[in-house]
Symmetry: C2
Subunit: 154 residues, 2 copies
Amino acid sequence: MTNWLDEDQQRSWRAYLLGTALLHERLDRDLRAEHDLSLPEYEILVRLSEAPERRVRMAEIADRMNFSRSRITHTVARLEHDGLVERTQCETDGRGVIAILTDAGYDRLVEAAATHVAGVRDGLIDIVSDTELEAIGCAFAKVSVRIGGPDARL
Amino acid sequence: MTNWLDEDQQRSWRAYLLGTALLHERLDRDLRAEHDLSLPEYEILVRLSEAPERRVRMAEIADRMNFSRSRITHTVARLEHDGLVERTQCETDGRGVIAILTDAGYDRLVEAAATHVAGVRDGLIDIVSDTELEAIGCAFAKVSVRIGGPDARL
DNA sequence: GTAACAAGGTTTAATCGTCAACTATTTCCT
DNA sequence: AGGAAATAGTTGACGATTAAACCTTGTTAC
């Protein structure tokens, strides 16, 4: 009754599942081992570092990264505890809380970025063709729109 | 000093990260909501259902799915508790434990498969081109070999 | 202006996965 | 044969994510 996958689709799907899991796991492991950061923590630091004045509202981090509010609270709390991020009340909205990347956070991020980029290159970018990478980007952009809604910004 | 990603690579990479997260999350959510199964649980049931006599050794499940031994123990324990799987000693190897898919487990899997396949189609297969899917499969097969070693069977 | 509702964040508890330690069996080497 | 090392699996503690309840502040509508 359901429309099953044909053999090629099945093969691609499974290769993707396994490869994605391995890649994700490796990137996370590298960051933890060498910089005591999880991949999600690292990604939050990246977002902060890219923002003007290195400050972003909690809700905006959550929305852009598709993390739950509560996850942001917990993760940022950890980062704050480690001195990589600070929190401050939003001036214009009494509900708002703004996360700010500290200098220590920035330094840590710069260190970690070297490891991370090396991992991304070694584990994916450098071993797939340009057109394959392009196809991956294009395909998953569509996935994001389909599942996350059209407001899924990058 | 590190070899950074160029703009196109960056865009593809981020699209992949977000899309993958959304897709994975959706598939898991669907299975939980409609069949009270997590995605990893479902995947284990699939492996069992495909094996002769629906029985597979714990270590083989772990290796093929790239799950830790302990994760397999915990997850199979849950499945066993729910009556979807049974465990038995391996005849030929005193250390071995074999997981067996029960009839109830098979029935549950069949139900869940409809949901799952629909999700995979709707969230990925049906919205990307054949060549994109092919590229994804090919790319992540390479990733698996690179990271997981050549023995990463599917 | 105020009552109802929406949005931002935090908190708590439960779940799931990892890690390290441990037992039991098998394999390897001499 | 016998002892060291490797393999299979389990266990318990811990860390991270989720879900639901909750509090506060803004917004909307009358």
